[in-house]
Amino acid sequence: MVTAKGLPWILRVNDLYVEFWTHDGVARPVNGLTLQVGKGQSVGVVGESGCGKSVTALSVLRILPKAARISGGKIELQLRDGSTRDLTQLSTNSNEMRRIRGGEIAMIFQEPMTAFSPVHTIGNQLCEAILLHTDCDEKEAKERSVESLRSVGIPEPHVRIDEYPFQFSGGMRQRAMIAMALVCNPRILIADEPTTALDVTVQAQVLQLIKQMQSQIGLALYLITHDLGVIAQMVDYVYVMYLGCIVEEGGVDDIFETPLHPYTRDLMRSIPTVSGERKPLSTIGGVVPNAYSIPSGCSFHTRCKDMQGEVCRSERPAPRRFGESHRVSCVLYEDAAR
C-alpha cells in the first residue's frame, strides 16, 4: 500500500480511538482517525486546540497520560528492517517502544522551555539520548552532541553545550530541541506546534532549518499546527482535523485552492492575513463542542452553515474521493469513483 503521493508509507494510523477517563466522564479526543505518513513525506495536521491533533501524536509515541486509553484502531509503523509493528500492541515502557521513541520517531514540542529539564545542561540532555540509543561512550556522545548543535546552526556549540536551557534564547532552545530530536537519526519527526512560541523572524529561520534537515536526511515530517500559513509553506499533504477525526485531506494545493469541507472553507475565511482587506472576519458560529459530548453524525453539523438536515445529524459521513488525492467527509459531495 502506498500513500496518496505514491510514496511507500512509514506510519499508518488506522481508525484510532482514544478515550480519557476523568471525573467528569469519558472524553473522546480521537474518534476514528485515519492518516498516513509516507517515507520522507511532509504531512501537516491542522486543527484547532482540542481537536485531538496532539493526542494523536502522543498516542503514536505511546506517551499518553495515565487517564488515557487507546480504545480501538491500529498504529502501524514500518521499522528500519522492513518489518511492521502495531504500536498499540506494545507496552508503553517496553524496551522496543523505548527504542522506537527517538530511534524511529522523534518529537519536538511547542514549548522548548518546558520540554527541557531546567537543571541539566543542554549537553547532558543530548548525551543522555545518544547513550540510550547507541553504544557510544561518553566522549563520543559529547562529540556527537557538539556536532548536532553545530548542524542546527548554534554558534560556538562546544561552549553552548555546557550551558543550561535558560541561557538559550527561545529560537536557540528550539534549535537545540531539533538537534536533540535528530541526534539518533529517527525516520519520522513529529513537530507539535514547533514555532508557535517563537517570533516571526525566528519562526522563519527555525522552519527553514526543519525543512533543510528533512531534505538532508530524508526524514518524514509530521507537522501539527493551527497556523494555516505554516502549513501552506511547509508540507505537501494536509489533513484537516475536527473533533478527533479527519474531515478533509489532500495535497496542499488542493486544500488551499479548493477547500471542500464546510469547516475547511470557514477556517480559510476566518484568518486575517497581512495582505487582506479589513472587513469583518468570517467566523464559525458557536464553539468547538467539548470532547465529552461529541455531536452525533457529522461532528461539525452543530456549527455547519450548509447543514443538510437529518442525514448530517444521524449519519457519520464516509470519506469521499474528489480528484486524485483529495478526500472529504461531507454529504455535500458525491464520491468521484462511484
Binding site: 484547532e48 516571526v200 523572524t201 522552519l207 464559525i284
Partner: protein, 341 residues
C-alpha cells in the same frame, strides 16, 4: 514628537524603563538593561493602537508602564478618561491611581501565570466585580454573560483553570478584563493563544465592543496579520525604541524601516503558491541594547552602512508619504522597501 491632540486618551512622552543589571551588596548598578528607552506616542479616543515587535523588545513593559504596574524610570503618561481631566499617571499617589485604574484594564500575555490556579473561573472573573461591590446574583449573571461572550460555557464557572486549555484560559482572562467595561483596554497578545476560528470571533468581538462601548485599545502583538486586521495606527518596536509609526495601510504597503519590512516578509502566507522569504534578517535580537553605539538593528540589517554603526538614528518625519509617518532609520528616505503586494 506627537502634536498634542485634544482627543488623545493616552499620551506617552519619552517613557523610559531601565533595569539595573548589576546590583550587588553595597555595589552601585553600573550597567542597565534599557527595556524601554524613550518611547513616545499618542492614542486617540476610540482607535486601536498597535504596538508590534518581537519578544524582548519591550512592548509588554510599555503596557505595564502605561498602567503603572511598574514604575517608569523617566517620562510621562497622560491619561484622559471620558469627561475627566487628563492626569499624569506617573505622579499619582496610590489612592488616586486606584480610582483611575477602573478605566483601564489589561489582558495579559500568559494565560498560565495570570490565572490563580486555586480560584474557580467564577472567582477569577468576579474578582473585579467584588472589588467594586457588585451584588452576588448580579456577579453570577455578569460572569455567565462574559463567559458566553468569550466563547466558553456558563457551566464552566465552577471549574478551575487547570481544566482548560491554554486557549480557553486566555478567554477567561479576556472576560476578566472586560468585566468592568473599561474605556482603555491594554491587550497584551490577547489572541495569540486562541484558535483560528475563535481568534476571528474574538477579534470581531473586540471590534464590536469598541464600536458599541467606545473602547480604546492599546493592542500589543507580534502577529502582523492580526495587527493589520484590528489596528488603526501601528508602532513598531525594536529593543526598547520605536523604529516606525504610522497608519496601518501605510505601514504595510510602504514600510520605511528595514526591520518592519523584514517582519512583514517573515509571515508565512496561507497560500502554497506564494514564495516565502525565510532569510529576511540574520540572527536573533541581541540582549538589552547595551553598549551599541549606532542603530540597534544594524547587526541584523541587510542595508547597513557605516553611519548606522556609529550614529543612533533619531525618529524622523517622512513628509513625502502623505499621512504621518515616522521612522528611525538613516536611510529611510532612500531605501525603497517591500511591503505587502
Amino acid at each position: 514628537m506627537n502634536t498634542k491632540t485634544a482627543d488623545d486618551i493616552l499620551r506617552v512622552e519619552d517613557l523610559k524603563k531601565h533595569y539595573a543589571a548589576e546590583q550587588g551588596f553595597f555595589r552601585k548598578a553600573n550597567t542597565y538593561v534599557k527595556a524601554v528607552d524613550g518611547v513616545s506616542f499618542g492614542i486617540q479616543r476610540g482607535e486601536t493602537f498597535g504596538l508590534v515587535g518581537e519578544s524582548g523588545c519591550g512592548k509588554t513593559t510599555v503596557a505595564r508602564l502605561v498602567l503603572r504596574a511598574v514604575e517608569p524610570t523617566d517620562g510621562d503618561v497622560w491619561f484622559k478618561p471620558q469627561g475627566k481631566e487628563a492626569v499624569n499617571l506617573v505622579h499619582l499617589r496610590p489612592r488616586e491611581l486606584k480610582g483611575v485604574r477602573k478605566d483601564m484594564q489589561m489582558v495579559f500575555q500568559d494565560p498560565f501565570s495570570s490565572l490563580n490556579p486555586r480560584l474557580t473561573v467564577f472567582s477569577i472573573i468576579a474578582e473585579p466585580l467584588m472589588a467594586h461591590k457588585w451584588k452576588a446574583n448580579e456577579q453570577r449573571q455578569r460572569v455567565a454573560e462574559l463567559l458566553e461572550l468569550v466563547g466558553l460555557s456558563s457551566r464552566d464557572m465552577r471549574r478551575y483553570p487547570h481544566a482548560f486549555s491554554g486557549g480557553q484560559r486566555q478567554r477567561i482572562c479576556i472576560a476578566r478584563a472586560l468585566a468592568l467595561s473599561p474605556s482603555l483596554v491594554v491587550a497584551d497578545e490577547p489572541v495569540s493563544a486562541l484558535d483560528v476560528s475563535v481568534q476571528a470571533q474574538t477579534l470581531n468581538l473586540l471590534n464590536e465592543l469598541q464600536n458599541t462601548l467606545g473602547l480604546t485599545y492599546l493592542f500589543i502583538s507580534h502577529d502582523l496579520s492580526v495587527v493589520r486586521y484590528v489596528c488603526d495606527t501601528i508602532a513598531v518596536m525594536y529593543l526598547g525604541k520605536l523604529v516606525e509609526q504610522t497608519a496601518v495601510d501605510q505601514l504595510f504597503t510602504a514600510p520605511k524601516h528595514p526591520y518592519t519590512s523584514a517582519l512583514i516578509a517573515s509571515v508565512p502566507a496561507p497560500n502554497p503558491k506564494k514564495k516565502w522569504q525565510t532569510q529576511t534578517v540574520r540572527g536573533e535580537v541581541s540582549a538589552g541594547g547595551n553598549g551599541v553605539q549606532g542603530c540597534d538593528f544594524a547587526p541584523r540589517c541587510p542595508y547597513k552602512v557605516d553611519e548606522c554603526i556609529h550614529k543612533v538614528p533619531g525618529i524622523r518625519n517622512l513628509p513625502a508619504s502623505g499621512a504621518k509617518h515616522e521612522a528611525a532609520c538613516h536611510r529611510a528616505q532612500e531605501l525603497s522597501l517591500k511591503g505587502v503586494e
